[in-house]
């Protein structure tokens, strides 16, 4: 039961932290709960499908199928997170408390919540597929433990991970609105850059891109990959103790592109939101 708890906790933690951040980033937007639930449901369905077709996926593309799949869904999440970052910059003024409630409502209505749903779906799918494969595998080869105790351990692991995500979420929304959006924008940026770095890691593993140097630095004595701190940092910004050159490049490029784009979009806005006379 303990091994089931540990493995499921580790997988679920990453998804729970991501969901906590993006939900906090959408605070105040009507309908975000529905979109988040849709994302979770889609992610779980996708995870079941991936677990079912794990063999076919692995053998696809000359045995690089799993890595290409992982890199692709991560890449999709990077695009969605980036889009959200840029959208927030465009509407920063309307989102602040000083804007009128009506102006804010007009902005919120146009918010791309589907992007958030996709990010949540990707996180749940990736972690969920591994969890399903793990639980199915150890239940099949039970080794004296009943399937019930394994499921119980797994459920407990998921519950603790969800609690951790909840702590992050409630901690974030306790911030005043403007500070909240500054912080979550920064966290979303780090998430996007971290996922880009992770995607590159998979492509290097499948020998599809050059590593551009392995273990450019080694910070395992500061934060070890296997520690709780290391895993949390990995979930928040893709931290690895020994990154390859292309991972660092992907992280930096994503962060710089998003910062530059957001800044340019924020600067280009000339007119404030015009509220229709009938509103």
């Amino acid at each position: 039961m303990l091994s089931a708890f540990i493995v499921v906790f580790r997988e679920a933690l990453e998804a729970a932290l991501i969901i906590g951040i993006v939900l906090a980033a959408c605070r105040g937007t009507a309908g975000r709960g529905l979109w988040a639930a849709a994302g979770i449901a889609a992610g779980l369905a996708g995870a079941a499908a991936v677990a079912l077709f794990a063999g076919a996926i692995a053998e696809a593309l000359a045995n690089a199928g799993q890595e290409v799949f992982n890199a692709s869904v991560l890449g999709l999440a990077v695009l969605m997170l980036g889009w959200h970052c840029v959208w927030m910059s465009r509407h920063a003024r309307e989102m602040s408390e000083r804007a009128s409630a009506v102006a804010r409502a007009v902005s919120e209505g146009a918010r791309p919540l589907y992007a958030i749903a996709v990010v949540i779906a990707v996180a749940v799918l990736r972690e969920g597929a591994e969890t399903i494969l793990f639980l199915h595998g150890i239940a099949a080869g039970a080794e004296g433990e009943g399937a019930a105790s394994l499921l119980l351990g797994g459920a407990a692991g998921a519950a603790v991970a969800i609690a951790a995500g909840a702590v992050l979420y409630f901690g974030l929304i306790a911030l005043p609105m403007r500070r909240l959006f500054q912080v979550t924008n920064g966290m979303v940026l780090l998430l996007a850059a971290g996922m880009a770095s992770q995607a590159m890691g998979f492509l290097v593993q499948a020998d599809l891109v050059p590593a551009l140097g392995t273990a450019i630095w080694d910070t395992s004595n500061i934060v070890d990959d296997h520690s709780i701190a290391g895993r949390v940092l990995h979930a928040l910004c893709g931290y690895v103790a020994q990154p390859s050159g292309i991972q660092i490049a992907a992280f930096a490029a994503t962060a710089l592109i998003l910062i530059a784009w957001s800044w340019r979009v924020g600067r280009d806005r000339r007119t404030p939101v015009t509220v229709p006379a009938s509103a």
Partner: protein
């Protein structure tokens, strides 16, 4: 999706396809690991330093295993009865640990690079 983003996505996809087509794997030194009864065989594998290495992991167990090593930067689920291929390196000399994440108590090993 804005058109600039769409072009970037297309460029990435084409670039990846080109990479897939031209990735030269025949010259990389190749090694094999087996998973049996949730243990790795051999538990210690020696590979040359400074070279990219092709590692084939054969899962002889009926249930899936996740082959993982943070130091080698590999993470791959290998379904039961199947095999998976990962590329590691070039590596500096040293010892790099790996585990089967689904059965960490018994599935562990070391890659010695020299």
């Amino acid at each position: 999706m804005p058109t600039r983003l769409r072009s970037l996505t297309l460029a990435l996809v084409f670039g990846l396809s080109a990479g897939l087509a031209t990735a030269a794997r025949a010259e990389d030194p190749a090694f094999t690991l087996e998973i049996k009864d949730h243990k790795f065989q051999p538990a210690e594998l020696t590979v040359p330093a400074g070279k990219k290495v092709k590692l084939t992991v054969k899962n002889l167990d009926p249930s899936p295993e996740e082959f993982e090593s943070k130091s080698l930067r590999v993470e791959k689920v290998i379904p039961g009865g199947k095999e998976g291929v990962v590329f590691i390196g070039p590596l500096k000399p040293g010892r790099y640990t790996f585990v089967g994440e689904f059965h960490e108590k018994t599935a562990k090993g070391v890659i010695v690079v020299q």
